[in-house]
Symmetry: C2
Subunit: 205 residues, 2 copies
């Protein structure tokens, strides 16, 4: 693809660095931006730059926050002895939307991935251990993705947290609510049978 | 989706204004940008702003160009009496890649779309008419998308260009090279039969 303008080419190159955006899509995005008013594009550009330059993280849970301590950690009605460990803010939002969890969070900022050169020290694991050492935490729930990286991270954290004599739990894996058995993959179905539990009516609140 | 940071929320809002990017994808893009070095994000942001602020268009064909006259219009080996009218720079790139066209282009910058409030005056139609009035153009090829908007634009331009007694042609519509007939849609197949032409061996160069 030969582009007649280096200005456009640079913008396409940069947009194509975004995950899931190829050069063809990047060109479509660039042409869309070109059709807008310069002020509108300046606002776009500024919002992205400002986010990266001025971003802050909660001193307690490492969640993204405009204040030194995030709204969840400041909430006195939440159970501070129960901490849910997640990969990133999207998981916090997803769990909050369920309204099933009343503890606090700890945001790792990623998962261990040797392939991408990401080790425990590149994540907020030190901050988690500091929280645990300060005491007051009874249980940590590992709510990590069901991928190889998620499992590796869970394995590492479980060993570390056990050294401090803390109850380590993990979210249940199994068949989705409302799903057909014959459409589930073998691993999930196998896990749901191995992890079977006493029958009860309805969903526990 | 409640986000704990207005900085992040602003960036997600802006990214979600891009075509084909929903809020969930915008969040993924924002988190990817957050993981990068601030200088890298500044380069990203600057490339986008600079493109919009400093973009120039070719004085002749309205294609995006860093110079007052684009490389295609400057090329003395091209046939200046043949002008291909296209929607945007992506179409120029696509046609150039075929190496089948040796004329010049005229980039409209969009198509007529009453639904989006885009009329002929919002496109570079005046510049096209000015070129035609200056003389020297023998044929204009309308290479517009096969959509309702493309057809509307073609209809409008054909009427306008005919007033100047210029040959107006349009690219052939039909079954793709290498495609199966039973997988083509009815409209395309119908058009390819109506527009049938004398049999010849091989592809004409």
């Amino acid at each position: 693809m030969s582009i007649s303008s280096t200005l456009l080419e640079n913008a396409v190159d940069q947009l194509a660095t975004l995950p899931g955006i190829g050069r063809r899509t990047a060109m479509r995005l660039a042409l869309d931006l070109l059709r807008r008013e310069p002020e509108e594009v300046a606002r776009f550009s500024e919002a992205v730059r400002k986010m990266r330059d001025e971003v802050r993280y909660c001193d307690v849970c490492c969640n993204i926050s405009d204040e030194p301590k995030c709204a969840i950690c400041r909430d006195p009605n939440r159970d501070a002895s129960l901490v849910c460990v997640v990969e990133d803010i999207r998981d916090v939002i997803a769990i909050e939307n369920t309204r099933q969890f009343k503890g606090l969070y700890h945001v790792l900022g990623g998962v261990i991935s040797p392939m991408d050169g990401i080790g425990p020290d590149d994540l907020h694991t030190r901050e988690l251990m500091d929280r645990v050492q300060q005491g007051g935490i009874r249980e940590t729930v590992l709510a990590l993705g069901g991928t190889l990286e998620g499992d590796t991270t869970g394995f590492y954290l479980n060993r570390k947290l056990n050294e401090h004599g803390i109850l380590v739990t993990t979210i249940a894996r199994g068949i989705s609510v409302g799903a057909e058995l014959d459409q589930a993959d073998e691993l999930t179905l196998g896990r749901s049978i191995a992890d079977r539990k006493p029958y009860e009516l309805g969903v526990r609140r």
